[in-house]
């Protein structure tokens, strides 16, 4: 059985818009995946949904589909993305293709205080959509790696207890989920390769769950043992990597250089935990910030003066101060002569967040010599508080729906 070629065209909501077209036109693929969700993104989408209940999905994915859906259908490339965010059905209904979507992750009824509450679902509902002939699969909160595990499981007909195969595909998914972070983006040894415009990664997955990480010929960046190692280390904890599909043992992964990239093999898996992780975001209040530039002599005293003045004006509740001594004595440029005093306010009162910047700017002619700030005052923005919860997996009803 030949390998299944799975590409990635997005590592976050806001990633390179043209990546989808680059991946479709750059060479052969069977499946194209995209990750659009992060803890913070769920909060952003939650605020979108508050304003308009028909939103709550990644709007950039719609733009990519307007540009590329016909091309993908024409090439027979299946699209699997978590761009549905908080509203997978809403997004699925906007697409003109045979679309399946995954639902059941929304647990707001169980966590009524939360703005968003989403269980991390796994690969099997994605696999079910594909088995039923979906050309596009749209999910909400599934684990990033499940976007790769689902298509591989469907293609090879894996069983739910094929732990090593599922673990191998999870590793492939983990390498792919952050897009160009696998191909030289954000890479410590960036001076050794050309990362001007890194290509997006591809995993060629074999029936046994092992894979070759590669990218289309002629694209920038590099796939080496080092670039892949860097991405394997991203956002992990203990070597037993817990997911809804399988527990993946990162201390069993074997990496080997290959003429077209890096072979990943040897990965062992074991049964997943009995609970699913839930991403909870609640509104925490409002935040605002300012940065005062303190130039030249008496930096500490200048900082003390402006602190005293701002506290006098609005009180010290919720303020966090940081003085960054970026200055140096007898400097040859004005910027090198300057320290930065950051102040942030977090408050439950939006009026106080607004008063903060007004009070800051009212000091402009009444404070330390050389007073200036790095940005104009703003009204402040709401901020979220993230927390994880865990629920028994049999209490979550994940469902694959074909349109």
């Amino acid at each position: 059985m030949t390998a299944l070629r799975i590409g990635n065209a997005s590592g976050f909501y806001g990633d390179r818009l043209s990546a989808m077209r680059e991946q479709l036109e750059g060479g052969e693929l069977d499946v194209l995946t995209g990750d659009y969700l992060a803890e913070l993104t769920m909060l952003i989408l939650g605020r979108d949904r508050m304003k308009d209940s028909s939103l709550g999905y990644a709007k950039t994915f719609m733009r990519q589909m307007e540009d590329c859906l016909a091309l993908a259908l024409d090439q027979g490339v299946k699209i699997v993305v978590n761009a549905g965010g908080l509203n997978p059905e809403g997004l699925a209904r906007k697409l003109d293709a045979k679309v399946g979507y995954v639902t059941g992750d929304d647990l707001r009824s169980r966590f009524p205080e939360a703005l968003t509450a989403n269980a991390y679902l796994g690969a099997w509902e994605i696999a079910e959509c594909l088995e039923q002939g979906a050309q596009v699969v749209v999910t909400g909160r599934v684990t990033d790696a499940s976007l790769v595990v689902g298509p591989a499981a469907a293609h090879f007909g894996w069983a739910r207890d094929d732990w090593d195969r599922l673990a191998g595909a999870t590793v492939a998914g983990h390498v792919l989920e952050c897009g160009t972070q696998a191909t030289g983006g954000n890479y410590s040894f960036f001076t050794e390769i050309d990362v001007t415009r890194p290509g997006f990664p591809i995993a060629e997955i074999d029936e046994d769950g092992s894979c070759l990480i590669t990218k289309h010929e002629g694209t920038g960046g590099a796939v080496t043992v080092d670039t892949v190692t860097a991405q394997l280390l991203y956002e992990i904890g203990a070597p037993e990597y817990l997911g809804p599909d399988v527990t993946t043992h990162f201390d069993t992964i074997r990496l080997d250089e290959h003429p077209r990239g890096v072979r990943i093999s040897g990965t062992k898996g074991s049964p997943p935990p009995e609970t699913l992780k839930v991403c909870l975001n609640t509104l925490g209040g409002f935040r605002n910030s300012a940065t005062f530039v303190l130039t030249g002599l008496d930096v500490e005293e200048k900082a003390e003066l402006v602190k005293r003045q701002l506290v006098n004006a609005i009180g010290e509740d919720g303020l966090t101060w940081t003085l960054a001594r970026t200055d140096r004595p007898d400097a040859e440029t004005e910027e090198q002569a300057s320290a930065l005093l950051h102040v942030m306010i977090k408050t439950t009162d939006p009026k106080r967040a607004k008063a903060f910047s007004r009070s800051g700017i009212e000091l402009a002619l009444a404070s330390y010599p050389g007073f200036h700030v790095t940005a104009p005052p703003s009204d402040g923005t709401p901020f979220g508080v993230y927390r994880a919860a865990y629920v028994p997996r049999d209490e979550v009803q994940a469902k694959a729906v074909m349109l």
Partner: protein, 106 residues
């Protein structure tokens, strides 16, 4: 020789809720043997004094160590008042810290 750790080690860091993770890897078995002995939790806290509670994991197959810095980011990215609230550059900070690196590894 006293050199920045990043002369021989790569790193990648990021956020998981209020925790930060920091993976460090090297490129030869000899360098891993040294790193594994050198970069203890105590040494990491000495190099990154902002760290509080730290968990350490060994991944010899990747010639890597993974650290979880608990609570570094407060209530998570959107709420953190910390400089670099997603801990994206934590690894590059560590790489810039100087360490006594055996000459044969340089």
């Amino acid at each position: 020789m006293k050199r920045p750790l990043g002369t021989i080690a790569g790193a990648r860091s990021g956020d998981k809720g209020g925790d930060a993770n920091l993976g460090v890897w090297v490129r030869s078995d000899a360098a891993y043997e040294w790193l594994n002995g050198f970069l203890t939790v105590e040494k990491l806290k000495e190099l990154l004094p902002e760290a509080g509670e730290v968990s350490r994991y060994e991944l010899p197959n990747l010639r890597a160590l993974n650290f979880v810095l608990h609570g570094l980011l407060g209530d998570g990215v959107a709420s953190s008042t910390r400089f670099d609230p997603q801990a994206k550059a934590l690894g590059e900070w560590l790489r810039s810290r100087e360490a006594e690196i055996p000459e044969e590894l340089l």
